[in-house]
């Protein structure tokens, strides 16, 4: 089907005003932040989608999806556009982007049953602002909170900065509504718990738009006690000490909302005002007073236990101030884009992995060693480090961060810098049994390792695709490796 025919059909299914074919918007819709530099330099190597559509209900989403399904058109679901792994990148000539712009209503905030129901296009910040008015919080606070929307946050299995207390999005979603390529609308009801077969919420949560379109979600809400917040910061000798203290707090059964350990390099870029070229360990405790007091005691005890690795304590106010300015607004994102027009540089890239407590330090050390010794552009790195920022009773994550002078053509940047670095990180992680993607999703640029990530369980992932998206129209190349997409990767 040619593009004009696609647009004509979409305009008939929806209204013409719900179908966007503006070339600039289509260019923007061709890729996400994975190729931010190439995008700004106008050298994207992928096709533009045919149109962006803005349905107003699950019914309309269903109609668009079944049209695309019957016509073999690729569909890219879209919400806040903060994707970092290529989930929004387009690899097909005929693609329809379904944007959640008009699915923008907060449907219900139920403070008795402690849950809120919102449509997929509601920015998380908007929900949080509404909840705060009445002394509640969603407990979900990714750095992209001001921009990311609930549909995208659920679709990527995102995680917030206070996850160690509140959990990831998967711990918060109570029920949801989603639409499959056939047009079928599924509503998963909101209950406290059930044992009615496998937990089908998890088919939609984390599907990255590769199985279904999420139109509505119900999440838990929490009482908010900002007056009880307590912050701790320490300069520590090495990452091992940091990981040991984090583990001690977690395995003793405590849940600080924030528990982080930063390498020297990463600490230097975050805590320029006090890092003294040391690693940094920090905590935040929040919640009811009694829980906060007990958590603080647990933190202090853990630090005491590993005091040989602790150099000095820093003023908790410094940590609080830092936290209050950590999120990225749309303006920050726009400023970075603007900066990339002028300079051969950007704010850097990250790769986030997870593993159990004993494996994380090994992965960290192996990665650092390999990058320094075998990455051919190591001399261009201006920063290479990492931090652990989300801890669990059995392990933690590692957020590798790196930046570099860009000494290549903009269209080659990812292949010359980010991807080879990410490859080392992913290889070392998978080799030691960790997960290659803690919270950004697989997108399109980690799909070459999806099978390794899941091993024999890839069978289950594959069957989901066959069952729910038999024609393969949902977000071609996302999560599932595709031969045809390799030309955009290698």
């Amino acid at each position: 089907m040619d593009k004009n025919k696609i647009i004509e059909n979409l305009s008939g299914i929806l209204t013409p005003s719900q179908v966007n074919t503006d070339p600039e918007d289509l260019y923007d819709a061709s890729a996400d932040r994975y190729k931010k530099y190439a995008k700004v330099r106008r050298v994207l190597d992928v096709p533009m989608p045919a149109a962006i559509v803005y349905p107003k209900s699950a019914d309309e989403v269903g109609k668009v999806l079944s049209f695309c399904n019957e016509s073999g058109l690729n569909v890219i679901p879209r919400a806040g556009k903060t994707a970092t792994e290529g989930g929004l990148e387009n690899w097909k000539e005929n693609t329809v982007v379904i944007d959640a712009l008009h699915l923008n209503r907060i449907l219900n905030i139920d403070t008795y049953n402690m849950q809120a129901t919102v449509q997929a296009g509601v920015p998380l910040q908007q929900l949080e602002d509404e909840l705060r008015k009445n002394g509640f919080t969603a407990g979900h606070s990714p750095q992209s909170k001001p921009v990311a929307k609930l549909g995208g946050l659920v679709a990527t299995r995102s995680i917030g900065q206070f996850s160690t207390l509140y959990g990831g999005i998967e711990d918060m979603v109570v029920g949801l509504e989603c639409v499959f390529p056939s047009g079928h609308i599924s509503r998963i009801k909101n209950v406290a718990r059930r044992s009615g077969g496998p937990d089908i919420r998890h088919i939609a949560i984390g599907n990255e738009g590769a199985l279904c379109y999420i139109t509505e979600v119900t999440v838990k809400i929490f009482r908010f006690y900002p007056e009880n917040n307590r912050f701790y910061g320490y300069l520590i000798r090495d990452m091992e000490t940091g990981i040991q203290v984090l583990r001690e707090v977690m395995v003793n059964g405590f849940r600080p909302s924030v528990a982080r350990a930063y390498s020297e390099e990463d600490a230097a870029q975050h805590f320029y005002h006090f890092h003294k070229d040391k690693c940094v360990l920090l905590f935040m405790a929040e919640g009811p007073q009694g829980i906060v007091s007990a958590t603080c005691q647990a933190i202090e005890d853990a630090v005491e236990k590993f005091k040989t690795g602790v150099i000095e304590q820093v003023d908790g106010q410094l940590i609080e101030d830092w936290f209050n300015n950590l999120n990225w607004s749309q303006k920050d994102i726009d400023d970075e884009m603007e900066g990339m027009k002028q300079n051969d540089s950007h704010a850097g890239f990250t790769t986030e992995i997870s593993a159990d407590w004993e494996t994380i330090p090994k992965i960290y050390n192996n990665v650092m060693q390999r990058i320094r010794s075998e990455y051919p552009r190591a001399h261009d790195l201006t920063m290479l480090g990492g931090h652990s920022s989300h801890s669990y009773i059995n392990g933690t994550n590692m957020y590798f961060v790196y930046n570099y002078h860009i000494h290549c053509e903009p269209e080659d940047e990812m292949r010359v810098y980010h991807h080879p670095l990410q490859r080392i990180i992913v290889e070392e992680t998978l080799k030691l049994g960790g997960s290659m993607c803690h919270h950004h999703g697989i997108g399109k640029f980690r799909n070459e390792w999806t099978m390794d990530e899941h091993g024999s369980a890839y069978y289950m992932l594959e069957k989901l695709k066959e069952a729910f998206d038999p024609n393969g129209i949902m977000n071609f190349g996302t999560i599932y490796p595709q031969k045809e997409g390799e030309k955009y990767q290698q």
């Binding site: 320029y272 005002h273 290549c408 010359v416």
Partner: protein, 276 residues
């Protein structure tokens, strides 16, 4: 039009070693430092960038690069072929062999070697940098011009692309007080500085993956007809006197808060330093 660029690869560490008392670097001492990476000398990179700009606007133009240096710079020369330059030649041999402790190169010999090679090549213009990061006396371009019997100009900050052809070149040279425009008859040696700002294009990824090892010409001083005495230490009129690590002053780092006191302190500092 045929342009030949004479270039040198230098250590990317002006913080590690700097050489005084001579116009020339000492690869041995540099090697025992922090194994610095070699880069194309910045002034030379500008001259090559200008040449490639001329070539881009004139399909008939060819650019050849020649360098006298150790075999270890081979991969860097290959990268120039990937830019692409039309021909790249590395003059090497015992003289530049980093394992040979008696082997010292010096500007006069380098100039002679380059001239010995270039004399048999067709060219309308020779481009070089003015100074090298690891040297600093700007003598190679002068010696090269002298050996070839050509006019030469150092310190060029801009070449008029519309008045640069097989007959003449019009260009600007900056000194401390003024910018002067010159016209010179071709062939001649034009030596640019990094202030010219000509920027080399990056090697494209597809070209990075291209095997160009067979395209690089490597010749030795002997093949150019230089005898042992001429190419070795005895051929040198200059000598390394002393080598010392370059150090930078420790900055007195003082962090202030974004509050009244901090703002006042920054304001007072800027005033005291004469910025306000």
């Amino acid at each position: 039009m045929k342009i030949i660029c004479a270039v040198k690869f230098v250590p990317d560490v002006d913080s590690v070693v700097n050489i005084v008392g001579t116009a020339t670097g000492d690869p041995e001492t540099i090697r025992t430092g922090r194994h610095p990476r070699m880069i194309l000398n910045p002034d030379d990179a500008c001259s090559l960038a200008f040449a490639l700009q001329v070539k881009a606007g004139n399909p008939g133009c060819s650019v050849e690069v020649v360098s006298a240096g150790p075999l270890s710079v081979r991969p860097h020369m290959e990268d120039l072929l990937r830019l692409p330059v039309d021909r790249a030649t590395l003059i090497s041999g015992r003289f530049f062999d980093e394992g040979n402790s008696s082997g010292r190169h010096n500007s006069s010999v380098t100039g002679d070697l380059l001239a010995g090679y270039i004399a048999d090549r067709p060219y309308d213009c020779l481009l070089t940098g003015t100074q090298t990061l690891d040297g600093g006396s700007a003598s190679v371009p002068v010696q090269l011009a002298e050996a070839l019997g050509l006019d030469q100009m150092l310190g060029i900050i801009r070449v008029d692309p519309h008045r640069f052809d097989t007959r003449r070149a019009v260009f600007e040279v900056a000194d401390d007080t003024r910018i002067t425009t010159y016209e010179m008859v071709m062939p001649c040696v034009l030596s640019l500085t990094r202030e010219s700002g000509y920027k080399l294009p990056y090697v494209k990824l597809t070209d990075m993956r291209r095997d160009v090892s067979d395209d690089l010409t490597v010749i030795t001083a002997e093949e150019l007809g230089f005898s042992e005495g001429e190419e070795g230490r005895t051929g040198s009129f200059t000598r390394v006197m002393n080598i010392y690590p370059k150090t930078y002053d420790e900055k007195d780092r003082h962090i202030v808060q974004n509050d009244e006191a901090g703002i006042t302190e920054v304001f007072d500092f800027l005033k005291a330093e004469g910025f306000l």
